[in-house]
Structure formats: structure tokens, C-alpha cells
């Protein structure tokens, strides 16, 4: 396709540039109506553009959090300090962005711009993954929503703080009225699709951690009070069945089925990993395991 449109007489038409003077002058009975509608539509387009920009940044930051988390080697209640620090700094950035977009997506606008806010899925993925690595459980939407709301609130306050720091008379400048800042809410779709993606991250985590520590990632025995700590294979099975049992989301059946298929594959990859560990793990000489001090705590236990 050519880069511009032609009118019926074959002349190139410019849409975005300034209008030809002749046209700008030619007004008719309907021009005022169209001008009003244009202003309304422009508001909508501009808002969407702002959201898309912020969304891209939030997605990038969330991905960086996930990369940091992939450097964790085992499931334990405290993430390694350096990784936690990386995540915290990213979250601060995300919080600021959330605070910026929050006022734009209140009320009726929340769903209007859902499709421009794919970043929330990514953020859910990062947060649920961090939660899993700490607690070996899936955080629910009800637990997650306040966390995201808090983030947007934090972002709003740090922004104020930054502005206050910038001014010399920071101390005696009157603080803005203490109204509750608008927060970003999660939709069920954001949550579910984020958790779908979580299975992929868990698969990658299971693979790297098994390769590098020689043991299947599992919870600490004390944590669960069960005889044997639950391994990530069981968790993946659990999560896989969880999605299989849920009724298919009607809103976007295609996306749902695609995600479900990816989840199935991830589950099977981890299964295979568990099998390999069981059947061949014992054949490996103990000393063979590469020592990556982060996760190594004595010899891996053999089943």
C-alpha cells in the first residue's frame, strides 16, 4: 500500500498535516458539530497515547523484575538481598508510572483502555512470581489488588516528595491537600492472564535452578509441615489443573486457549525435568554439580 491516500481525482491527500487553506475556510452548517466531536475524540486519542507510553515502560520494568527473579536459585522466604534491591528499585519506578496513569483510568475509563494496559498483566506476572519464590503459593487477586493499589499510592507520594526536594523552600511549601490519590485497579483478566504467564516463568525457574543446583526446586521442609517438601513439579501440576478446570473465559476465547496451550507445554517440560531428576539424578557423581554458591546448601537430597 502506498503511504498516502488519494482523493477521487487522483491528487494526494494530506490528512495529518495542516489543511489546505481553502478547506479550512469552507465552513458549512455541520462544521461546528464536527469540531465539537473532534475535540472529544482528540481527548480520547491523547489519553490512550499517554497510557500506551506508560504501559510500555511498565512492561519493560516488569520484565526486568522477572529477569532478576530468574537469577534466584531456590524457593525461600527471603529473596537474596541483591535481587531484592534490584526489584525494589524497579518497583519504585513502576509505582511512579502507575501514579501517573491512575487518574486516567478511573470509573468508565478502566475498561475503555484495558487493551492499552497490557502492562498490568506483566506486572501481575512479576508480582505473582516473586510471591511464589518467597512462599511457594499463588497469590490471589484479592491479595494482589491492594498491593498494586499501594504501589500507585506510593508513586503519588514519592512524586510529591521529589517535587518538594526540587524546590528550595521545600519545608515551608504547603503540601497539596490530602485527598486520597486515585489508584490502579486490576481486572480479572489482568490477573488471570498474568498467572497464565507465571507458569512459563516457573518452568524457566525450575529448569535453571535444577540445572544449576542439581535439585528440583521445592519448599523448605519446615514451611509446609508436610512429610516431604512439595516440589515445583507438583506445583506446576496443580496450576495446570487449576486452569484446565476453570471455565474458558468467554471474553477472549482465542487468547485464553493459546495461553492454556502454552501452560500445558510448560507443565510437561517441568514433568520431564522431574522424571529426569528421578531416573538419572542418582547416577550423577556428587561432585559433578557446578557450585553456584547462591543456592548450594549441602548435597542435593536424592528421592
Amino acid at each position: 500500500m502506498s503511504g498516502f491516500k488519494r482523493d477521487w481525482s487522483g491528487n494526494a491527500k494530506k490528512r495529518d498535516g495542516p489543511k489546505p487553506a481553502q478547506k479550512a475556510v469552507a465552513r458549512n452548517a455541520y462544521t461546528p458539530m464536527f469540531e465539537t466531536l473532534r475535540d472529544e475524540l482528540d481527548q480520547h486519542h491523547d489519553r490512550r497515547e499517554r497510557l500506551v507510553k506508560a504501559s510500555r515502560d511498565i512492561t519493560a520494568l516488569s520484565k526486568k523484575i522477572i529477569f532478576s527473579l530468574q537469577r534466584v536459585r531456590k524457593i525461600e522466604s527471603q529473596l537474596p538481598a541483591n535481587i531484592q534491591a534490584e526489584i525494589d528499585s524497579r518497583l519504585t519506578e513502576i509505582a511512579k508510572l502507575l501514579a501517573v496513569i491512575a487518574p486516567e483510568i478511573q470509573g468508565i475509563n478502566r475498561y475503555r483502555y484495558s487493551r492499552s494496559l497490557m502492562c498490568l498483566e506483566e506486572l501481575v506476572e512479576a508480582l505473582t512470581f516473586a510471591h511464589y519464590l518467597r512462599t511457594q503459593t499463588l497469590v490471589s487477586q484479592d491479595e494482589l489488588a491492594p498491593i498494586v493499589e499501594d504501589l500507585s499510592r506510593q508513586g503519588a507520594t514519592t512524586e510529591d516528595a521529589v517535587m518538594a526536594d526540587a524546590g528550595d523552600s521545600a519545608e515551608n511549601r504547603p503540601r497539596p491537600a490530602k485527598t486520597e490519590p486515585p489508584t490502579v485497579s486490576l481486572t480479572q483478566e489482568d490477573y488471570l492472564y498474568g498467572v497464565f504467564d507465571l507458569t512459563g516463568e516457573m518452568m524457566r525457574f525450575a529448569t535453571t535452578s535444577t540445572a544449576l543446583t542439581g535439585a528440583m526446586a521445592s519448599g523448605s521442609a519446615a514451611g509446609d509441615g508436610e512429610d516431604e517438601p512439595r516440589s515445583i513439579v507438583q506445583d506446576m501440576h496443580h496450576l495446570g489443573s487449576f486452569f484446565e478446570m476453570l471455565p474458558v473465559g468467554k471474553g477472549n476465547r482465542l487468547a485464553w486457549e493459546r495461553k492454556l496451550e502454552v501452560t500445558r507445554q510448560s507443565v510437561q517440560k517441568v514433568e520431564k525435568l522431574g522424571y529426569d531428576r528421578t531416573i538419572r539424578g542418582s547416577e550423577r557423581p556428587k561432585g559433578w554439580i557446578p557450585d553456584l554458591s547462591a543456592g548450594d546448601q549441602g548435597p542435593p537430597d536424592e528421592e
Binding site: K5, D7, W8, R15, D16, K19, K23, A26, N28, A29, Y30, T31, M33, F34, E35, L37, R38, E40, L41, D42, H45, G107, I108, N109, R110, Y111, R112, S114, Q136, T137, L138, S140, Q141, D142, Q188, L192, R230, Q234, D235, H238, L239, F242, M245, L246, P247, V248, G249, K250, G251
Partner: protein
């Protein structure tokens, strides 16, 4: 790993969503039926001389009355849920309903004491909202309404239909109608040029208006060539 309550909660929410969609589908089925009927009746204008519009428009108004009733039901039901979560389901249908109403009014139907029915009346977005009894371009609260995009897309459908009518009215000997349509479509075309469009469906449809303009201009050209344009409206 997963709290069983979480599963139950998500499951019931998804089921609730599914039942909302089902209910909507039923209402939209009804709406579809009324809109199709009204469109069908309206299609007869292409073979009806202007003098016989009145009984035809009366029938169209009957169809529109059903549309209004169904959109009222849709509005009442859909307003319970986030508007933009489901609005893609009815966008098309509401657009078509808007088209029937705009066309009917343009042809002189839907008259009242304050607005006598005359050919060439364009209903605005606000008029449409008032007619259907629903708000338009809502921003401050989350409820059913008619959007600007729906109105504009509905209007473009009418332009297409009128360009066809220009041809057929000439066949029926009503050359004044073709000239009037030409002026109307040109004005609207200029109006649409005022909009700043993004690369979306609205832009695609707006781009198509020029073909309607050309079609009607060709008709007017043929008429003027043969001195068939009635005197008062000439050029």
C-alpha cells in the same frame, strides 16, 4: 500451592461473566431483528417516489419504535456492568440502529410539533440520545450510552445509502433529490475532514466517504450536462 477458595471465586466470576454475555446476546438478537426489519423497510425508498414516502416512513417509524424499546432494555441491563467491558458486543448493532434513525429523519420522518418533517434534517448525537432515551458520550459515570464513534459510523452508513438513493431518485424522475443529496454529502464530507483520525475503523470508513461523493457528483454531472437540474437548486 493454590487456595481452593481462589479457584471457586474465579470460577464463579467467569461463570457470571458468561451468563451476562448470554443475556446480552438475547437482547441483541431482538435488537438485530428489529434493526434488520427497519433496514429492510428503508431499502424500499430506492423504489418509492417522494410523494409516497409518508406511508413508508410510517412503517419505518414502527420499526424504530421497537428499536427504541429494545435499546432501552439493553441500556437497563448493560448499565449494571462496566460499559466498555461489553460494548464491543453491541457496537455494530447500535450503529445500524442509529443509521436507520438518521436516514428516516433525513427523509422527513420522525417529525414532531417542534421539528416538522422535511427532507434534509440531520439528527445530531444528542438528538439520537434523546430519541433512544439514553445518554450520549458519557464520561463522568459508567453506564450505557451512545458513543461518538457509533454515531459517526452510523452516519457514514447513511451517506452510503443516500449516494445510492441519488441514483435511484433520478431514475424515479426526482432530480431535485439527487441535487439535495449531493450538497448534503459534500457538506458532511467536509465535516469529516475536520476530525483528527487515528488509524482505526473510523478512519477507514471516513476514507470511503469520498467514493459516495464521487458517485453523487457523477449523477449531478450527468444531470447538469442535460440541463435536467431544476432551476432553484441549480449549482
Amino acid at each position: 500451592m493454590i487456595d481452593p477458595a481462589l479457584f471457586e471465586q474465579l470460577k464463579s466470576k467467569i461463570e457470571e461473566d458468561a451468563s451476562v454475555r448470554k443475556e446480552l446476546d438475547q437482547i441483541l438478537d431482538d435488537l438485530n431483528q428489529h434493526v434488520s426489519f427497519t433496514q429492510g423497510v428503508l431499502s424500499r425508498i430506492h423504489s418509492t417516489p417522494r410523494s409516497k414516502y409518508a406511508p413508508l416512513l410510517g412503517q419505518v417509524e414502527g420499526g424504530i419504535k421497537n428499536e427504541i424499546e429494545t435499546i432501552g432494555r439493553l441500556s437497563a441491563f448493560a448499565s449494571q456492568y462496566p460499559y466498555y467491558k461489553y460494548n464491543h458486543k453491541w457496537q455494530r448493532m447500535v450503529q445500524d440502529a442509529i443509521s436507520t434513525v438518521i436516514l428516516c429523519a433525513w427523509l422527513g420522518g420522525l417529525s414532531s410539533e417542534s421539528t416538522p418533517g422535511e427532507v434534509g434534517r440531520l439528527l445530531t448525537l444528542e438528538d439520537i440520545g434523546a430519541l433512544f432515551g439514553v445518554p450520549v458520550d458519557l464520561k463522568d459515570r459508567d453506564a450505557f450510552h451512545i458513543t461518538i464513534e457509533e454515531y459517526l459510523l452510523g452516519l457514514i452508513n447513511v451517506i452510503d445509502d443516500l449516494s445510492r438513493l441519488a441514483v435511484n431518485s433520478v431514475t424515479l424522475g426526482d432530480t431535485a433529490m439527487a441535487v439535495q443529496i449531493s450538497a448534503f454529502i459534500k457538506d458532511l464530507h467536509a465535516g469529516f475532514q475536520v476530525l483528527n483520525l487515528k488509524n482505526d475503523i473510523l478512519r477507514k470508513r471516513v476514507d470511503s466517504i469520498k467514493y459516495a461523493v464521487k458517485k453523487v457528483e457523477d449523477v449531478v454531472y450527468d444531470l447538469s450536462l442535460r440541463n435536467l437540474i431544476p432551476a432553484p437548486e441549480a449549482q
